[in-house]
Amino acid sequence: MWWRMDEQQFSKSVFEAKNKLFRISYSILHNEQDCADALQEALLRAWQHSGKLRDERYFDTWLVRILINESKRLRASRQRRSEWPAAPECAAEDIGLHDALMELDERYRLPIVLHSMEGYQLEEIAYLLRVPVGTVKSRMHTGRSRLKTILETEE
């Protein structure tokens, strides 16, 4: 069965995921402007390849995977050119947890954000991060314990 998403469906699905897309991108880039740049690239890429998606149920996971790849690519490009901007003052309500999360290594932070905050299953996170499910489990375990340690140290 050939299925292709039209502009309206695409826009509606993207808008529904707006806050989630921002948080996931922010957890990699820590910078609002860069998040917008990564989102732009991700949306264009997703739209151009939307014909490859055979089932609209997987659109959300598919788009998030593209966004994660674009965010990582942008970060790597900035790091190569030493253009990494200083993170602006954060407007989060819980600054303590924000700082602790950002202090955590990304490979531990992302699974926690995707599972505990955005509600993805372990198998979905494995697909999103291109790692085995066992690795996701172990990273989540290590990440939680490190986060706890950071928060206790700060208190």
Binding site: W2, E7, F10, S11, V14, F15, K18, N19, F22, R23, Y26, S27, E32, Q33, C35, A36, D37, L39, Q40, L43, L44, W47, Q48, H49, S50, G51, C90, A91, A92, E93, D94, L97, H98, L101, I112, V113, S116, M117, G119
Partner: protein, 91 residues
């Protein structure tokens, strides 16, 4: 835990939303030009490849090697002789 984590992130800024709206508004201009589905393209390529193989096999000695020519049987020769006596069909 989920709510506390959400408070650890800044709210989605308006610049992010604006960029999203701009990109979505531009989507019709950026429609993918791929009009032929991949399966059709693959079928065409397979047909061309098979045609090429058939021509190559006919022009080479491959078919003769696989199916060596044998002299006709006496029955077949008789049949040809009998057919030669048939009256020609009027056009």
């Amino acid at each position: 835990m989920r709510d506390r984590l959400k408070r650890a992130f800044p709210k989605t800024p308006s610049s992010f939303e604006t960029r999203m709206e701009q990109v979505l508004a531009d989507l019709p201009k950026r429609r993918s030009h791929r009009s032929v589905p991949r399966t059709v393209a693959a079928m065409l390529a397979a047909a061309v490849a098979m045609g090429g193989l058939a021509i190559a096999a006919t022009h080479s000695q491959l078919l003769d090697a696989i199916f060596p020519t044998q002299p006709p049987t006496p029955q077949a020769e008789n049949l040809v002789v009998e057919l030669a006596w048939l009256p020609k069909r009027k056009m």
